[in-house]
Symmetry: C2
Subunit: 163 residues, 2 copies
């Protein structure tokens, strides 16, 4: 199961994160701690797009994609945002209903829908992004450069181990 090549002794993942005998201390349990942290972070970021701009988490993700890819087939959005097709459908509808995005059928294949930001949507995007980036910077700012580097690597490793 995806062992990394590095040299590791017996104690390995032990100190500070893993558990001992047959007891499970929820507060120390890594999956719980991670879920909790992610929720905190998610909430902090949601202040930006939800409270200030009334977007759902899914809409925000789609918007983030549209900001970079000015025109995209909705079927491509799912993989990029980790949303299933129903969530994408709803998010895009939500954006459209508020004049943020527009949909049109693909000429070649009329099943597909192509989404793009409206001018208003683009303006919204440009307004939100700085706040979102600021939040991220604020957060990562509490870490040293070294810690940030390790964190990045660790997240990649864990993610890879799970796929």
């Amino acid at each position: 199961m995806g062992r990394s090549g590095e040299a590791r002794d017996r104690e390995t993942a032990g100190r500070g994160t893993a558990q001992d005998g047959g007891e499970l201390e929820l507060q120390q349990y890594f999956p719980y701690r991670l879920a909790r942290l992610a929720e905190q972070v998610s909430l902090a970021v949601a202040e930006v797009y939800s409270e200030r701009f009334a977007l759902t988490r899914q809409e925000w993700r789609v918007l983030a994609i549209l900001g970079v890819r000015p025109e995209i087939a909705t079927k491509e959005i799912g993989p990029l945002t980790t949303l299933d097709k129903m969530q994408v459908s709803r998010a895009v509808q939500g954006l459209e209903s508020r004049g943020i995005a527009s949909r049109k059928h693909h000429a070649g294949d009329r099943r597909e829908l192509i989404v793009a930001l409206t001018p208003a949507g683009r303006a919204l995007y440009r307004k939100i992004v700085p706040f979102a980036l600021a939040r991220e910077a604020e957060l990562l700012g509490v870490l040293t450069a070294e810690e940030a580097k390790v964190l990045d690597r660790v997240m990649h490793k864990l993610s890879a181990a799970l796929s």
Copy 2:
């Protein structure tokens, strides 16, 4: 906002995690990556308690607490599990309805409910915990001891910065 004392240069949290100009690349955006990872981990762990033992995430958390604190007022459960009082109420009801936990009114204050595991509940707990711990060990096993240590510290730092 909670600057750590370490010496850090301009690049700081940059390399590998943070963003540049006014563009936001969702795939690289830390809050998104974290949410995604947490979801993956959560799913992997849910296999243990959900698929194998038909518990919801909330019930699992309450069970984990009850395994350590054999008798506890439900009002204490919320803070320990990061669930709101309604979630606790439902989770405990769920556990009770399946003979895993039992409730009784506190003698001194008859508003409070005291929850405890039934013998069947305790047996279930003992059956699940090893699997849950194994999952955790498997995951953390892909990290070096050093990485695990940094990860632990980083999670504490981030969590603290957000509270």
